[in-house]
């Protein structure tokens, strides 16, 4: 098999590594997501500050991991003030 033929999970691992770089780039700047490869499935979970950022992450993951099944569980940051305080005696 030549390098150009390389497909399957080995190659997907490299794509996953490059995905992290893509996500850290100018557009989204997200380093705090947990991205894992499970055979032909990719899971992405974490918290992002805005709907725009979530859409950008989902678009980039789908683009870079094209051909694999992508499952995302990305929640939006909760911007409400706390309803309690922790007492530190």
């Amino acid at each position: 098999m030549t390098a150009a033929d390389a497909t399957g999970s080995d190659e997907a691992e490299y794509r996953l590594a490059h995905l992290r770089d893509r996500l850290a780039d100018d557009e989204v700047g997200e380093l705090g997501l947990r991205i894992e490869l499970h055979g032909s499935h990719v899971t992405v979970r974490g918290t992002v500050p805005s709907e725009e950022r979530r859409a950008a992450v989902e678009r980039i993951v789908a683009e870079v991991m094209d051909g694999l099944k992508v499952h995302t569980d990305i929640v939006l940051a909760d911007d409400r003030p706390p309803t309690w305080a922790e007492d530190l005696p």
């Binding site: 700047g29 003030p81 706390p82």
Partner: protein, 243 residues
Amino acid sequence: MIRVAAVGDIHLGPDSRGLLRPAFATLDELADVLLLAGDLTRHGTPEEAAVVGEEVGGLPVPVIAVLGNHDYDAGRPEEVTRILASHGVQVLERSSTAVRVDGTLVGVAGTKGFGGGFAGRSAGEFGEPEMKAFVRHSRECADGLRTALDRLAAEGCDLRIALTHFAPVPDTLAGEPTEIHPFLGSYLLAEAIDGAGADLALHGHAHLGTERGLTACGVRVRNVAQPVIGRAFAVYRLHPPVG
């Protein structure tokens, strides 16, 4: 009793303008001071720093911050610091400040901190210049934190808080893959905190971590990364020692 509000990793940019302001506007009822644990922006550009400044500018409580790795990404941390300062935010880096709340003098010592890992599994200042520079930066941040905490003690602070971006202990990293712990914090920060003493240590950076931890010598550690605390900010009630 002193109420400390804290949050890190808000990662603001032009698309998140105004999102946190309504919560921060409630601070006068909830807290006496707001501490920001770094990663306030996505890439540390002046535009993003201005968004942060607008979100926290003119609040009824003092705002004290450290920067995070994201705030260094564009290579303009001094500019970010200047823009935040123009909105009344005091940015600490191996330095300290003290605010008086009623009769209590509350000191905050801050540094971004850096990685390297935790006791028994950490990088050493050995080998290639790149490796030495990595570990040296972490050590210099920790040394600066210790000096700043010592200074606060000498100034007679009733309460002292250590504010960092990187984590001082692995406890609050639970949920992060262990393989990346050396990029999330350094035991050198905890050693500095334990050496100088502190009433509370706050950090961010570990978005997938957990909120509560403890240093070897019993200083309470809280990871206030916004994804971890799940709110606009957390509030901690501290009690100055009596007598």
